[in-house]
Amino acid sequence: MGADADPQAAGQPRSAPAAGELGVGSTTMSGIPLDPVYGVEELGRPGEYPYTRGPYRSMYRSKLWTMRMFAGFGAAADTNRRFRELLDAGVTGLSTAFDMPTLMGRDSDHPWALGEVGRAGVAIDSVVDMDALFADIDLGRVTTSMTINGPAAAVMAMYIAVADMRGIPRAQLGGTIQNDILKEYQAQKEYIFPPKPSVRLVTDLMRFTSAEMPRWHPVSVSGYHIREAGATAAQELGFTLANGFAYLEASQRAGLAVDAIAPRMSFFFNAHNDFFEEIGKYRAARRIWARWLRERWGAREERSLLMRFHTQTAGASLTAQHAELNIARVAIQALAGVLGGTQSLHTDAYDEALALPTEHAARIALRTQQVVAYETGVARVADPLGGSAYVEWMTDELERQAEAIFAHLQDLGHGSILDGVYAGIDNGYFVGEIADSAYRFEREVAAGDQIIVGVNAFVDADDDAPPILRIDPQTEIRQRDLLEMVRRERSRDRVALALAALDTQARDPLRNLMPAIIDAVHAHATLGEITAVLEDVFGTHIETASA
């Protein structure tokens, strides 16, 4: 039972499988007994440096991956209902999708929020919404992942404030906040402030959780969005690990020792269509991280060397045409993630090229993971593909390509990967590389060199679109009314004082801003108000438009 087996649930007490959590067995379907791992001595073993074959000795036979389904839509109460349905259906961890205004740190009545409130995720304006989001869910027991970056510090503060209000000790909170701002400038584009003050907020949160919330993962370094934006597997690997090294460097500059922070960092990768390329990518990622941490960063603790990651199937691979075929794509992508040794997994719903998933589609996606886990037998033996000449070659090749990216960034940064990443954001290196790859792929699809079944080959005439999730247009109005009520009922003086304190502290780069942000949140300052204060001090990032 690896206490850290799930990057999102690390630090939990070791315990027997929870009720309803089934084992995967140790014999085949026909009754052939199986060892936990196979392979000649030279291949190494899972749980041994450099961890190519997995972070733990017996992998899923001891503890399955966490089935963590990403959900969020409408107002907080709507998503709370979906969360409770998912918990009832057997998910073992929650994962929150926020709407676009929230992801950008703005309130639901911001002029740009028109048409976007509650559409692509849940709308959170203040601690009142956060409380409703987790109504009747025990934050001391469940682990929660929150996918947010630009305003991560404020959203984390709201989660902490809800726990404070319910009398749950902060040290008991387990989960992950994505808080990976670097990939926003490179791929996802949900940045607010310029890179350097944004990285300060990242390291403030890292310092805060290191001191007060030992079960929390303050950053999930994410290749997922880099891949979705069009990067190749090697670019996803190289850029993501470079960002991981950059956060290590930044946290070291902020006074954190590598062994204090590395074990709290987790990763998040894509699972795309090219099966063996994906598996090679995950294996290479673990090996690179272990080697760099030991050799470059001088990490001494084993926990610092272990890369643990979450995987999500590739949203960009889903097709609007013949959407049911996406169920097959997702199953195969999920299998790649599992054979690559993921610690947690989100499977996309088949209707996501059309809209946010319906409950039915999300249910099928979860059941797909359960089929992989309990019917196929792949979880019984750790790294079952280890030793395959092809898989080992692919792992080496992806490592080689990633190392070339690190070398380039180190050149750009005159020896510093962090400075190299800043320079690459500044000079358009990342966005240019990603756009080139996306363009090449689309040209190959247009030329028929990349086959997409049901789109550019094997197209059937009949294609009935499935029913899609509709967000009630009244959501936006109700959310604004709720925000108005929060503003009306709070103490104006208390909010003003808290925001003024935040403003003062933000001007001092050595101050950790988390306590001031938590105070502001407790005073019912809204997300947009906190963002506005910080924006006033830090400025706004604007990308130079180029295509």
């Binding site: 929020a113 048409g115 976007e116 996306a438 180029s546």
Partner: protein, 137 residues
């Protein structure tokens, strides 16, 4: 078959939506096909699009949407173009469910290019939109 004259196309995303992969690919594909692309990119408003469309004298406005806000922002974009007295057709691309397409075209959107639209269809649609606008008085 050569195109008679290069079509000038403005491409933008409105509001917070940061999904610019598709828009960037379309920009390059249109350029490959001989179009002139005015790439405004991210974080535009209907107002900023109208101002740029007039200044740049474009024949077509292309808006990319991935956040489910198309039924709100699509008609608003068309209305803003009309209010400015510009007869420029608006084409929307991105995640738009098929059942929403008639709602958008009824609201005056010239065409909708959903997920998986082949490149040659996208280019032909932009050209057709430009031609139909030219044909108007």
């Amino acid at each position: 078959m050569g195109d008679p004259e290069p079509v000038r196309v403005l491409l933008a995303k409105l509001g917070f939506d940061g999904h610019d992969r598709g828009l960037k690919v379309v920009a390059r594909m249109l350029r490959d096909a001989g179009c002139e692309v005015v790439y405004l990119g991210l974080r535009q408003t209907v107002e900023s699009v109208v101002v740029a469309a007039e200044q740049e004298d474009v024949a077509v406005i292309g808006i990319s949407m991935h956040n489910g806000g198309h039924l709100t922002l699509g008609p608003k974009m068309v209305q803003a173009v009309a209010n400015a007295g510009l007869g420029i057709p608006v084409v929307i691309g991105g995640i738009v469910p098929a059942e929403d397409v008639p709602k958008l075209t009824d609201a005056g959107v010239a065409a909708v290019l959903g997920p998986g639209t082949p490149v040659e269809v996208a280019i032909a649609t932009v050209r057709a939109a430009a031609r139909s606008a030219r044909a108007l008085p």
